[in-house]
C-alpha cells in the first residue's frame, strides 16, 4: 500500500505564440501581472557585447529597498496610504520568510495586502480569510486579503480601526521587507525615504552580470513552430537548454558518456558568440516591460540573430504568482516565464509553475 515511488508532484507549462504588433497581444498584461521578480536572464545569440541601449535600460532599473523589521500595520498609516499605496506601483514583499513555514506578506500595486499566515497567527489575528488552496489534511495556512484602496478602509472608519487593531495589537506582524516603487523619479520629494527613516533600511541596486559565451550550439527556432513539430525543438527541450546555458552545463556529450548524456536539442546551429546577461534584485514589472520593448527594437539594426530570449524568475516564497493567484512551495516554488522574440515581431511566451500554483493565465 505504499505510494508509488515513481510518481512526482505536478508541474505546468503554458506556451503561447502571438505578435507584438497584434492589437490583442497581451504580452504587457502578462508581464504586469507577475509582480515579484527576482531575476532576469537575457540571452542574445550572435552578439559580442551587451548592446549599449539594452545596458542603459538595465542601468535605469528602479532601486529597491531592504527594510528591517517593519511592522505590517505601517502600510495602513495615513501617510503611507497617501504617499505610496494609493498612488499604485508600490511593491512590497516580506523577505526571510518561507511560504511553506512562516507568515508571508505582500503588498501588490493594486493596493491589495496579502497575508499568508500559519494557523496560530491567523486565529489570533482575527481578520477573516480563507484556507490556503494547498492545504493538506488539516488546514495549517490561511490567506487574508485586504484591499487598502477600498473606501471603507479610510482612516476613521470602523473597518479601518478594526484592521489596524488586529495588525497592531492582536498580532504585531512584522518582518524584513523588500520594497520598490517603480516610477523613476516618483520619489522626488523623498517621501518614501521619510517613511523609511524610522527604520533600518538600505537602498539596493539590481546587480547586473554579463558574459560572452563562445562557440555555443544554439537550437534553431522557427517562429511558426511553437510546439516543435520539426522546424524547432519542443518547448520543453528549449527551456531545458536555456537552463543548461544559464548554469554553464556542457551541451556536447555523447550518448555513451558515463557522466552525462545531455546534448543541445535539434535542429541546432553553431553560434560563435552569444551574450548572457542576468539581473538580480526586486524587479518591478514596468522595468521588465521596458527591457522587452528594447529587445523588440534589437532587430531593427542588422544582425544575424534569429531570436533572443528573456527569462524572468519569480520569488519562490511569494504568496502570489500571476495577479492575485495563490502561490505555494511544496518541494519547489518555481514560477517563471520566458519570452522568445523573433525578427518579425512574433513572440513565444512560456509560463511555468510548480505543484502549488494554478495554471498560469
Amino acid at each position: 500500500m505504499s505510494p508509488d515511488l515513481g510518481k512526482c508532484s505536478r508541474s505546468l507549462l503554458t506556451c503561447e505564440k502571438s505578435n507584438f504588433l497584434n492589437e490583442q497581444s497581451r504580452h504587457e498584461v502578462h508581464v504586469s501581472r507577475h509582480c515579484f521578480n527576482y531575476k532576469i536572464s537575457l540571452l542574445l545569440p550572435e552578439c559580442e557585447v551587451l548592446p549599449v541601449r539594452v545596458e542603459n535600460v538595465i542601468h535605469n532599473f528602479s532601486s529597491y529597498y531592504l527594510v528591517r523589521d517593519l511592522p505590517v500595520y505601517k502600510f495602513l498609516e495615513e501617510k503611507w496610504l497617501a504617499t505610496v499605496v494609493k498612488k499604485g506601483s508600490f511593491y512590497a514583499l516580506s523577505c526571510k520568510t518561507r511560504i511553506d513555514e512562516d507568515n508571508v506578506c505582500a503588498l501588490l500595486p493594486s493596493g491589495q495586502l496579502i497575508l499568508s499566515l500559519d494557523k496560530d497567527t491567523y486565529e489570533h489575528l482575527g481578520l477573516e480569510g480563507r484556507p490556503s488552496l494547498y492545504s493538506h489534511k488539516k488546514v495549517m495556512r490561511y490567506v487574508v486579503s485586504v484591499d487598502l484602496t477600498n473606501k471603507s478602509l479610510v482612516p476613521g472608519t470602523k473597518r479601518y480601526q478594526q484592521v489596524l487593531l488586529c495588525l497592531k495589537e492582536r498580532v504585531m506582524l512584522r518582518s524584513d521587507f523588500l520594497l520598490t516603487t517603480c516610477h523613476p523619479g516618483a520619489d522626488k520629494d523623498g517621501a518614501l525615504h521619510n517613511l523609511l527613516s524610522q527604520y533600518t533600511y538600505e537602498e539596493c541596486r539590481p546587480t547586473l552580470h554579463s558574459q560572452t559565451l563562445k562557440n555555443l550550439f544554439c537550437p534553431s527556432l522557427h517562429h511558426s513552430d511553437l510546439r516543435g513539430k520539426g522546424l524547432s525543438c519542443t518547448p520543453n527541450q528549449f527551456l531545458e537548454w536555456l537552463g543548461a546555458v544559464n548554469l554553464n552545463i556542457s551541451c556536447d556529450n555523447s550518448a555513451v558518456s558515463f557522466l552525462s548524456t545531455y546534448m543541445c536539442p535539434e535542429p541546432r546551429a553553431p553560434v560563435s558568440q552569444s551574450v548572457l546577461c542576468t539581473v538580480t534584485g526586486l524587479i518591478p514589472p514596468k522595468d521588465v516591460c521596458r527591457l522587452l520593448k528594447e529587445l523588440r527594437c534589437y532587430f531593427a539594426e542588422p544582425n544575424f540573430a534569429a531570436w533572443v530570449s528573456l527569462t524572468v524568475h519569480g520569488f519562490v516564497d511569494c504568496p502570489v504568482s500571476w495577479g492575485a493567484a495563490e502561490h505555494g512551495f511544496f518541494k519547489g516554488g518555481e514560477n517563471l516565464y520566458n519570452f522568445v522574440c523573433f525578427k518579425n515581431q512574433d513572440y513565444w511566451l512560456y509560463k511555468a509553475t510548480g505543484s502549488e500554483d494554478a495554471c498560469p493565465p
Binding site: M1, S2, P3, L5, S9, K96, T97, R98, D100, E101, D102, D118, K119, Y122, E123, H124, L125, G126, L127, E128, G129, H136, K137, K138, M140, R141, Y142, K158, R159, Q161, Q162, L165, C166, E169, R170, D176, F330, K331
Partner: protein
C-alpha cells in the same frame, strides 16, 4: 505546514559536537530541535537525569537558514521500557518539554498507546520490531494525540539497519495510515543530519504520502510540542487576555477568527 523541526538530537557529553549538530540543524532549515536524553531500564531508585538548561548551550543561538530568528531548543526525555515498572508517573518527568517512550514488548507498546501520559512512542530502528503494531492500540494513541516516531540515523549508519528502519516504518504505516507520524534524526553528529525536504522525500520510502511525509517534519512535530506543553501542566493552558474592543460591537463583515482556544493541539 508549520516550521520544520527535528525533535530527536541525541544528548551527548561532548558539548562542542552537540553545538555543531545544532548549528547544522539550523543551517539545514530546522526552526526547532529537541535534545534527547535517553534512559534505559531504570529501576525505581535511580535518578532521572536533569536536563542541561538550554540557555547554557550557546551564548548566541544559531540563526535558522533563510530566516532572521534563532533556532529554538527543547529538552526531551526518552524512557526505554522493558518492564512496566520502568515507567513512572508523568510528574517525575516534568523537567522535560517532551516525553517519549520506547516500549520493547507488545504489552508495553499497548500500555504506551492506551495509557502512558507521553508525547511520542518510538518505533525500533536498529532491530526488527519484535511485535506487531496492532490497530486498536495504534488508533488509541492517535485518538489521544500521541505520535509515533521513526528515526533515520541508524539507516544512514548501516545497511542492515536500513532494512529494519524501512520495514518497521512500512509496518507502522499500514496500521496508522500515515497519521500521527513524525520523522526525526536521532543524530549524534552533524553529518548524520538531513534537511527537511530530504526527509519529506524519504518519508515516501517509509510508506507515507507526499503530504503526510512533509507533515512528519513540520505540522505533526508542532502537535507533539503542543501536546508536551499541555502535558506539563496536566490540565492544559488556558490563556485569556483582556483586549480593547473595536469601537463598535455591531456585526461586521469580518468576523474575528480568534475564538479557538490556544491549547488546541489537533
Amino acid at each position: 505546514m508549520s516550521v520544520f523541526m527535528d525533535l530527536n538530537i541525541i544528548a551527548i557529553a561532548d558539548k562542542a559536537k552537540l553545538q555543531s549538530t545544532i548549528e547544522t540543524a539550523a543551517h539545514l532549515g530546522y526552526s526547532t530541535v529537541a535534545i534527547n536524553y535517553v534512559v534505559e531500564g531504570q529501576q525505581k531508585k535511580q535518578l532521572i537525569p536533569k536536563p542541561q538548561p538550554v540557555a547554557e548551550l550557546f551564548e548566541k543561538f544559531p540563526i535558522v537558514q533563510g530566516k532572521s530568528r534563532p533556532i529554538k531548543v527543547l529538552n526531551r526525555l526518552t524512557v526505554v521500557v522493558t518492564d512496566a515498572s520502568h515507567f513512572r508517573l508523568a510528574n517525575a518527568y516534568k523537567d522535560f518539554d517532551i516525553l517519549a517512550v520506547f516500549p520493547k514488548t507488545e504489552k508495553l507498546f499497548h500500555a504506551a498507546c492506551m495509557t502512558y501520559d507521553v508525547d511520542i512512542i518510538c518505533i525500533a530502528a536498529t532491530e526488527k520490531q519484535p511485535f506487531h503494531c496492532k490497530r486498536s492500540p495504534v488508533n488509541g494513541a492517535i485518538e489521544r494525540g500521541v505520535h509515533f516516531e521513526i528515526s533515520y540515523t541508524a539507516a544512514i549508519r548501516d545497511s542492515t539497519m536500513k532494512k529494519y528502519t524501512i520495514a518497521n516504518a512500512i509496518n507502522l504505516m499500514t496500521t496508522c495510515k500515515g497519521k500521527n507520524v513524525i520523522v526525526a534524526s536521532g543524530a549524534e553528529a552533524p553529518l548524520e543530519m538531513r534537511g527537511p525536504y530530504d526527509i519529506a522525500n524519504l518519508g515516501l520510502v517509509f510508506g507515507l504520502s507526499e503530504g503526510d511525509a512533509k507533515a512528519a517534519v513540520s505540522t505533526n512535530c508542532r502537535s507533539v510540542v503542543l501536546h508536551g506543553e499541555t502535558r506539563a501542566t496536566a490540565l492544559g493552558i488556558i490563556h485569556t487576555m483582556k483586549r480593547p474592543q473595536p469601537p463598535s460591537e455591531q456585526p461586521e463583515e469580518e468576523t474575528p477568527a480568534a475564538k479557538k482556544a490556544k491549547t488546541e493541539t489537533d
